[in-house]
């Protein structure tokens, strides 16, 4: 085993050396151009993909070269168990990937940590461990596909990503990542056997191997279905999104309308005597639209930064403040000289009192945590608490300064605040102007529109169908779309002046994919529901939409899958017990289980 391990290292040593040098130089270059350690996840994602591709490419070059029967015979036909042969290959790939991917990043981190004043946190060290683990997972998936009957086996890679790829704490992510890596290692290790064509032995091994395959196939079928459905609808000219004139009274028209038009649409059915007057005024006003676009807040030791600023630049003092997740306060640095410029804690410059959550820096240099709004007094170099939310309440949009007010949207309220101009302080205290409680819960809110009238406010809430994509999952809310318009008078008293139902223009088939496999649809949302603690719309395992056609489609899918499985199994040599396991899987999981059956149980 040791010889095989070193043999594989020697095989790729020059390539590894070139890749190491290229990676190190590229990282150095990028680190000079921008601070790699504080980049957003969107900027980091291409790099992660490159490292995943490197792991996959290594697997194809290494294990793929043994796929040919004569080469496979040379590898396997020796006095070593296949498990030890696999261990030698896997360990050599781990060493190579560590050299090419982990080591350059570690050198960069150590250099930055010990030679500069830039912020380097524990999460950065853990991040490179995770990146190595992901590259190794890609290698495992590639190796599994190389030694499996079908190269479609590569889809097993998707399932562990459901578990491991989340914008959560790198510490909390250690367990899921290790589980995902262990899962893939087990599957790949079991696929290393002399007879690659043979069915998997043991029901437990079969289940552990089949589940990621089924999840991967489910995700693949979802993507394919969406593509086929949308492109088919476009071709037939019936796609509601692919038209300049969406159906009147529908959600798409409401979403595309200007804010003033949107409020007017809501007022059209109003029985309030002032409605006509308001509708006449609206074109002259410039209403504001505010949407709960803040899907998540950063969490401590997060895997990567969000696409939101977590620091600010003090021009007057030439200090760049960057938030440290280790110390939970800002660390100052002169961007030109690189000299350290102290800390900025909750009590201001020089104070080491930590924040209770990782803040976001707003456009106006306010600091926003999920539950509080702070103002930075740049002159005094202090931080003032401006607003604290109730328990279980958190911001769902960035604060907006319009109409001379500070408008805040939370998961429970829309709040309008005024600054108390009478106060002498640089950061004026906030005084409540009015607030509206959201009637239906925040997860339904599509957007709100506000128009300031002479004698009050018109506020429109549109509750959409809640389609949103987070990670691999698409979420759909049960409630049909509707609109509510409220009038808030000068005293801050609110009254509903109009409500209307909005037609959901998108076909039911467009809105959800659960009918392809209801249990797997729920299964794919589980990791996000459990792990993603930074989400402002807490992940909910929503009920299935009450659309008869989806139930019929779902039932048909299960029946067809089970029937096809029954026919397929007749041509195989599986035991009766195993046949039952497969039939139950197909009856429960539908199409993905059937596809995995076709891949794992060859017919005679």
């Amino acid at each position: 085993m040791k010889d095989l391990f070193f043999s594989e290292l020697r095989r790729f040593r020059w390539l590894a050396l070139v890749a190491f040098t290229a990676n190190f130089l590229l990282l150095l270059f990028l680190h000079r151009v921008s601070n790699l350690l504080q980049q957003s996840w969107l900027d980091a994602l291409p790099m992660l993909f490159i490292y995943l591709a490197a792991g996959l490419a290594l697997a194809i070059a290494q294990v793929g070269s043994y796929r040919k029967p004569s080469q496979w015979a040379w590898l396997i036909h020796r006095p070593l168990s296949p498990a030890r042969i696999f261990a030698a290959l896997a360990l050599s790939s781990l060493a190579l990937l560590a050299f090419v991917i982990f080591l350059p990043m570690l050198l960069l981190l150590l250099g930055t940590d010990f030679l500069t004043a830039r912020v380097v946190d524990l999460r950065h060290y853990l991040l490179i461990v995770h990146v190595l683990a992901f590259a190794l997972m890609a290698w495992m998936a590639g190796a599994h596909a190389c030694v499996s009957r079908s190269r479609m086996a590569i889809v097993v890679f998707f399932a562990p990503q459901l578990l491991a790829l989340h914008l959560v704490s790198t510490i909390e992510l250690l367990l899921p990542v290790l589980l995902a890596l262990g899962w893939l290692t087990y599957i790949t290790g079991r696929s290393f056997r002399a007879n690659r064509e043979a069915p998997i032995r043991g029901t437990a091994t079969l289940l552990v191997t089949a589940l990621p395959l089924q999840l991967g196939l489910f995700l693949l079928s979802v993507v394919l279905w969406r593509f086929l459905f949308v492109s088919g609808s476009i071709l037939l000219g019936v796609d509601p999104l692919n038209t300049d004139y969406p159906p009147e009274g529908g959600l798409i028209a409401t979403e595309r309308a200007e804010p003033s038009e949107g409020i007017a649409l809501g007022l059209a059915s109003s029985e309030d005597s002032r409605a006509a007057s308001w509708r006449a005024q609206l074109p002259l006003l410039e209403p504001l639209r505010i949407a709960p676009a803040l899907q998540r807040f950063p969490v401590r030791q997060q895997f990567s930064n969000l696409y939101l600023p977590t620091g600010w630049y003090d021009e007057e003092r030439n200090v760049s403040w960057t938030f440290s997740h280790d110390r939970m306060l800002f660390i100052g640095r002169n961007p030109e000289s690189g000299v350290a410029k102290g800390v900025f804690g909750l009590g201001g410059a020089g104070d080491v009192m930590p924040f209770d959550a990782v803040p976001i820096v707003t456009e106006n240099n306010d600091l926003l945590t999920p539950h509080a709004l702070y103002g930075i007094d740049e002159e005094a170099q202090t931080i003032e608490l401006r607003l604290e939310l109730h328990d279980n309440e958190q911001f769902t949009a960035m604060p907006q300064r319009e109409f001379g007010r500070l408008l805040l949207l939370t998961n429970q309220r829309l709040i309008a605040l005024r600054e108390d101009q009478r106060a002498a302080a640089t950061i004026k205290p906030l005084v409540s102007d009015w607030e509206l409680a959201l009637p239906e819960g925040p997860q339904h809110l599509d957007f709100a529109s506000l128009a300031e009238l002479m004698d009050g406010w018109l506020v429109s809430f549109v509750y959409g169908d809640g389609i949103r994509q987070i990670g691999f999952s698409q979420f759909n809310v049960v409630t049909p779309p509707w609109q509510q318009v409220l009038f808030v008078d000068a005293d801050g008293k609110a009254a509903v002046v109009a409500e209307r139902r909005i037609n959901d223009d998108r076909p039911a088939m467009y809105r959800t994919d659960w009918w392809l496999s209801p249990p797997l649809d729920i299964f794919t949302t589980l990791p996000e529901a459990v792990l993603d603690k930074g989400l402002t719309w807490p992940m909910q395992l929503s009920l299935l939409p009450r659309v008869p056609v989806l139930y019929i489609a779902g039932a048909l899918m299960l029946i067809l899958s089970t029937g096809t499985a029954c026919w397929w199994l007749r041509g195989t040599r599986v035991t009766p017990a195993r046949r039952r396991v497969w039939l139950v899987s197909c009856a429960l999981l539908g199409l993905p289980a059937l596809l995995s059956l076709l891949l794992l149980e060859p017919r005679e």
Binding site: L4, S7, R11, K68, A73, P79, A194
Partner: protein, 323 residues
């Protein structure tokens, strides 16, 4: 008039102790879709000596080896190698079986000495003298990289490594394919000398009859996934005989006589290669109008060739524009 040729497989003399067989198959069947690669193959290869397996492409030789080495499961029947079920071979069993295939797969990025060192550590029963003895037939330096070796040199190193592992059974699957005459000769000499030295059974698969003639103690003929013949090569040659006949006219119908494997017209004479026919065949030829008929010598190459092509289109005796 047509006569079905009936080939009765002849088997090696039965041996009572099952352990004396290195390879045993019973009703071994392998199906690729609708095609049967092996059709209920019953084969028992006794321990010791060199056993040659011959057969046309698609006869099932490589499929048989894949099953024997546990790389493929049969569709039916069972196969045992060195007394072990083929689908349950472990690392200890594999240490007892050497395998050399036509591609001579060796890690191209290593030096010969590294490959040898690696194998030496893997096989406790490694025989260094045997390795040196065999590799000495080839002009291979230990510091050469495998990728720098010619095909013949790679074959030599591969054989030397396989033999130095002191296997009880050595399977050589078309090992001389693509080798030049010199390399082939060196390879065959190496096989012969090493088998004489070692207590090893060799299964040798090849299309080269001169190699078989030179090496094999036992000849196994496979066709379309079935065992057609198994005996020492001499016995096979005794079954196959050549009759030369002189006919005054064409289309005598003699090619349809029982046992005729092949008919060729050479220099105006008809050459009949026949199976399992005695002296009376000459009389049958004369009955078909031959002026005279006599028996001639037939070598293994021609005999096997005729045997394997008997079901193909019969060559017409009047081919070639003769009168």
């Amino acid at each position: 008039m047509s006569t079905a040729l009936e080939v009765v497989p002849r088997r090696a003399p039965s041996t009572p102790a099952a352990s004396r067989y290195v390879i045993e198959t019973e009703g071994l069947t392998l199906r690729y879709g609708r095609k049967l690669a092996l059709k209920g193959l019953d084969l028992r290869i006794p321990q010791g000596r060199i056993h040659a397996i011959v057969g046309a492409n698609g006869a099932g030789k490589t499929s048989l080896f894949r099953i024997l080495l546990g790389f493929q499961s049969p569709s039916g029947g069972r196969a045992r190698i060195l007394g072990r079920d083929c689908d349950g071979l472990n690392e200890h069993d594999r240490a007892r079986i050497g395998f050399v295939n036509e591609e001579h797969s060796l890690p191209a990025w290593l030096r010969v000495s590294d490959v040898v060192a690696m194998q030496r550590r893997l096989y406790p029963q490694w025989n260094e003298a045997r390795y040196r003895g065999i590799v000495g037939h080839f002009d291979v330096g230990p510091e050469q990289r495998v990728r720098e070796l010619s095909r013949g040199e790679r074959a030599g190193v591969n054989l030397a490594i396989a033999m130095a592992q002191s296997p009880e059974l050595l399977i050589l699957d078309e090992p001389t394919l693509g080798l030049d005459v010199v390399a082939k000769r060196a390879f065959l000499e190496a096989v012969l000398t090493s088998v004489e030295d070692a207590d090893c059974t060799v299964i040798y698969c090849s299309h080269q009859m001169e190699e078989i003639e030179r090496l094999a103690d036992n000849l196994i003929v496979m066709e379309c996934g079935e065992l057609m013949h198994m005996s020492p090569p001499d016995e096979f040659c005794e079954r196959v005989t050549l009759w030369v006949a002189e006919f005054p006219f064409l289309a005598s119908g003699a090619e349809y006589l029982p046992g005729v494997l092949q008919v060729q017209r050479i220099d105006g004479l008809f050459h009949f290669i026949v199976l399992d026919q005695d002296e009376s065949f000459g009389k049958q030829l004369e009955d078909k109008g031959a002026r005279r008929a006599w028996q001639g010598p037939v070598d293994l190459d021609r005999a096997v060739n005729a045997f394997l092509t008997r079901n193909h289109a019969r060559p017409l005796p009047n081919d070639g524009g003769a009168q």
